[in-house]
């Protein structure tokens, strides 16, 4: 039992050294990120498969997405990745105040992303540009089911300004059905990504509280490091989603 008496401070009972503990955490978080990539993989495969089968549908459907808001969100997330990376450096150097500032900016960016995303979603629910199975979807095969009020209101449905190459009601039924698939993939991908942003916000808040208690410093920055890695992955997934969904032409 003698080994417990001189056990290094801040090292869990089952690790020998602080280095072993940190390395284990690092390998753990990277392995977890690998599972995250694979978790998204099925949706990326769905995207690839349907886009390969129906390229013209995807090109057409992409017009319904707001490229400006998507680009803005990309910038917001890039900024948050920068601040969290800076935060890791702050933790390593023991700059507690700067870490607090960077964590807060990261959190604001994350919240901003969600607000912009909610704005986009709200618009789509209003217009009815939804997955095929939704009762208010303008892509349903049975046009009579669509709420006439929504149809009258929807730019996509009535196509008054000629922005789109065709109004939805004039489209071939099969084409309309596949448009529903595009929005199914869109909502699943961005929804799952949004859930990850929300989880990230919880983790960032936890980091902020711990930092305000003064828990982080040159000897203890692992949690900041690992959550930053997670946050970079969430950012990276969006970097793929933005061109794949918004910039099809």
């Amino acid at each position: 039992m003698s080994s417990h008496d001189n056990h290094p401070e801040g090292v869990a009972h089952h690790f020998e050294t602080a280095e072993q503990q940190f390395d284990s955490g690092k390998l753990g978080i990277w392995t977890f990120l690998l599972t995250e990539v694979l978790f998204f993989s099925a949706l990326f495969v769905a995207y690839t498969m349907y886009r390969d089968n129906y390229p013209e549908v995807f090109q057409f459907a992409s017009q319904y997405l707001d490229t400006n808001l998507g680009a803005l969100n990309t910038l917001v997330l890039l900024l948050s990745s920068f601040t969290i990376a800076w935060g890791v450096r702050n933790a390593m150097l023991g700059e507690t105040k700067m870490l607090t500032i960077n964590l807060i900016i990261t959190l604001i960016c994350a919240a901003g992303f969600m607000v912009i995303k909610a704005e986009e979603y709200g618009h789509k629910f209003h217009e009815g540009t939804l997955w095929g199975g939704h009762e208010h979807s303008i892509f349903q095969l049975d046009a009579s089911k669509v709420d006439p009020e929504i149809a009258a209101h929807s730019k996509a449905w009535s196509n008054p300004d000629g922005e789109f190459s065709a109004a939805v009601k004039d489209l071939d039924p099969e084409f309309r059905q596949k448009l529903g698939i595009f929005f199914g993939v869109y909502f699943c991908l961005t929804g799952l990504h949004g859930i990850h942003v929300l989880i990230g916000m919880i983790l960032l808040t936890w980091l902020l509280i711990r930092n305000l208690r003064g828990e982080f410093g040159p000897k203890n920055f692992a949690a900041v490091d690992f959550i930053a890695l997670y946050w970079h992955l969430v950012d990276l997934i969006w970097i793929f989603l933005f061109p794949l969904l918004y910039l099809i032409s």
Binding site: M1, S3, A12, H13, H14, F15, Q20, D23, S24, L27, G28, T31, F32, L34, T35, E36, L38, F39, F40, S41, A42, L43, V45, A46, M49, W131, G132, G133, H134, E174, Q177, K178, G180, I181, G184, V185, F187, C188, L192
Partner: protein
């Protein structure tokens, strides 16, 4: 060197702390392993109940083919679905890695715990939630999709119990991922300095290969099940043909996980086999490196063969031919293992203890299971055998024959380490032999029936179809199997509740590190550190010592607590 205390009275991980919360909220890998063990056994009884329901339903004369009612058919669909889902997701996948792996892995590494003990506890709690959701599934509805949850059975206007079942499987998937992640990090970062990769016990190689599959494949089933949930509740359209979706796409995703999952089930059993054959033949394992590498090879090959489940699902002929050819590759590392085990026995000093009996059963069972797999890998024959009882018999030989028998053999092997008592009497041997005979009697007739075209998932068959004899013998076999497994479980329960023969630190003569600490181990696994790491299969490192009625290192250290074990007659 004089024995001082009874092993069960000294402070160990079982009696160090008391009370419900000291177990439920523990981060001790050994206690978590035991809780998994008993939870898995409870689920096994639940799944076994439905297995018996299936067999009794198929007994000739039980349900008349011509006059069967819709209720009878629905009840049968429910029975085989729940049997399959419970046995796969709640029993076989967590059985060896989560129960035995948790208990043994840190001990084998000479470590105090897994790398992330709290994550380990979280995995177990997720597992409990998943199990409760399956129980809820049984209570609220009539799940009848088959364990594969294929759309459109699982989507659209089907039974709402699909939601709880799929959610349960989704949560169990995360339990499995976190366990695998924990094991990968533990094996990478917590081996003692002298233990190089090729001095690792083969059980750890097998667990490592398993963990790689768990981490790489399980997220894919996770997202697929999540999509089924979304599809079912919101008609998102990706898998639903009416909305333009592709149900075969789900089958690809499902089998991308579920074929590797077969190796999540089988590889750990193979790892246990390697330990058993070396220990009970008193010989170094034959072909250590080839067994270790074949585990990794199986893990890699497992990812490129999923299409053989879909030969008649409408994938292109070219894909089918390629998948068929790739599937044969799995046979090579599997056969390497079997030949190595047999070679290990050759000219060994074999003792027919209970764990070894299970080990030798597996050679037969896995032999049949593996070789009949070749019929199904062959495109031309699979088109005929697909969806017949030939397939049912084949995967039971692999999943029950290798995974379950390996699990039970492993329980008997490490039971002394878990509870400080040995179970090795004639009754336990009768349990093993009866299970072996019963298993073969259950499933060999299904090969014959299946090769004559008996389709699976039918609630009844007409007598004129000529399958009655095969069904009769299969049901009889299931009774024998039930008796054998009940005796095996009874042996364990009797040892658990009644004070049986106390175990020395090393009753079987294993050389791996878990045998170098008292049975049961202290809370932090080893009283003296570090344990000496040598060749895990050099049997000359330990010798039988009458005064402890077990094995000790040839030159034990002065302070080795294993030496202080009291012989049973002094207890």
């Amino acid at each position: 060197m004089a024995p001082t205390t009874n092993t069960l009275d000294r402070t160990n991980y079982l009696n160090a702390t008391k009370g419900f919360m000291s177990w439920f909220w523990t981060i001790d890998h050994k206690r978590l392993g035991l809780m998994y063990l008993w939870s898995v056994i409870a689920c096994f009884i639940m799944g076994g109940f439905f297995a018996m329901k299936i067999r009794l339903n198929l007994m000739p004369g039980a349900v008349d083919f011509a006059t069967q009612t819709a209720e009878q058919m629905n009840a049968y669909n429910n029975a085989f679905t729940v049997h399959g889902a419970v046995m796969v997701f709640l029993v076989i996948i967590p059985s060896i890695p989560a129960a035995l792996g948790n208990f043994v892995l840190p001990l084998m590494l000479g470590a105090k715990d897994v790398a992330f003990p709290r994550l380990n506890r979280f995995s177990y709690h997720l597992w409990i939630i998943g199990a409760l959701l399956f129980v809820a599934t049984l209570l609220i509805g009539n799940l009848d999709t088959g364990w594969t949850f294929y759309p459109p059975y699982s989507t659209g206007h089907t039974d709402p119990s699909v939601i709880t079942a799929v959610l349960g499987a989704f949560i169990l998937g995360f339990s499995s991922i976190f366990t695998g992640l924990n094991f990968i990090v533990t094996i990478h970062k917590m081996r003692p300095p002298q233990m190089t990769w090729f001095k690792m016990p083969l059980f750890l190689w097998a667990i490592y290969a398993t963990a790689v599959i768990q981490v790489l494949a399980t997220p894919v089933i996770g997202i697929s099940l999540l999509l089924i949930l979304v599809e079912k509740t919101m008609q998102i359209g990706i898998f639903t043909p009416e909305l333009g979706g592709d149900p075969v796409f789900f089958q690809h995703l499902f089998w991308f996980y579920s074929h590797p999952a077969v190796y999540i089930m089988v590889l750990p059993g193979m790892g246990i086999m390697s330990e058993l054959f070396a220990t009970f033949s008193r010989k170094p394992i034959f072909g250590y490196k080839s067994i270790a590498m074949s585990s990794i090879a199986i893990a890699i090959f497992s990812f490129i063969v999923w299409g053989h489940h879909m030969f008649i699902s409408g994938q292109s002929d070219l894909m089918s031919v390629i998948f068929s050819a790739l599937t044969f590759s799995v046979a090579v590392p599997s056969a390497i293992k079997v030949f190595n085990w047999i070679s290990t026995m050759y000219k060994g000093s074999i003792s027919f203890s209970v764990p070894m009996l299970y080990g030798m059963s597996i050679i037969w069972l896995f032999g049949i299971g593996g070789l009949t797999g070749l019929f199904l890998a062959t495109l031309g024959t699979d088109v005929v055998f697909h969806d017949t009882y030939f397939v049912v018999a084949h995967f039971h030989y692999v999943m029950v024959g290798s995974a379950l028998f390996g699990f039970i053999g492993g329980i008997y092997y490490w039971w002394p380490k878990m509870y400080g008592k040995v179970v090795d009497g004639p009754l336990a041997k009768v349990g093993c032999v009866l299970s072996f005979l019963g298993f073969n009697l259950t499933f060999l007739p299904q090969f014959v029936g299946g090769s004559k075209g008996m389709p699976r998932r039918y609630a009844a068959y007409g007598s004129e179809q000529g399958f009655d004899d095969w069904n009769y013998w299969s049901t009889m076999g299931a009774m024998v199997l039930l008796a054998g497994l009940s005796i095996a479980l009874f042996g364990l329960l009797r040892s658990f509740f009644v004070k049986g023969a106390l175990s020395p630190a090393n009753p079987w003569g294993g050389v791996t590190l878990e045998w170098q600490t008292p049975s049961p181990p202290p809370e932090h696994n080893f009283e003296i550190d570090p344990p000496t790491v040598g060749d895990p299969y050099d049997m000359s490192l330990v010798e039988y010592r009458g005064e402890v009625e077990g094995f000790l290192p040839v030159n034990p250290r002065e302070d080795d607590p294993c030496v202080a074990y009291i012989a049973p007659e002094e207890a």
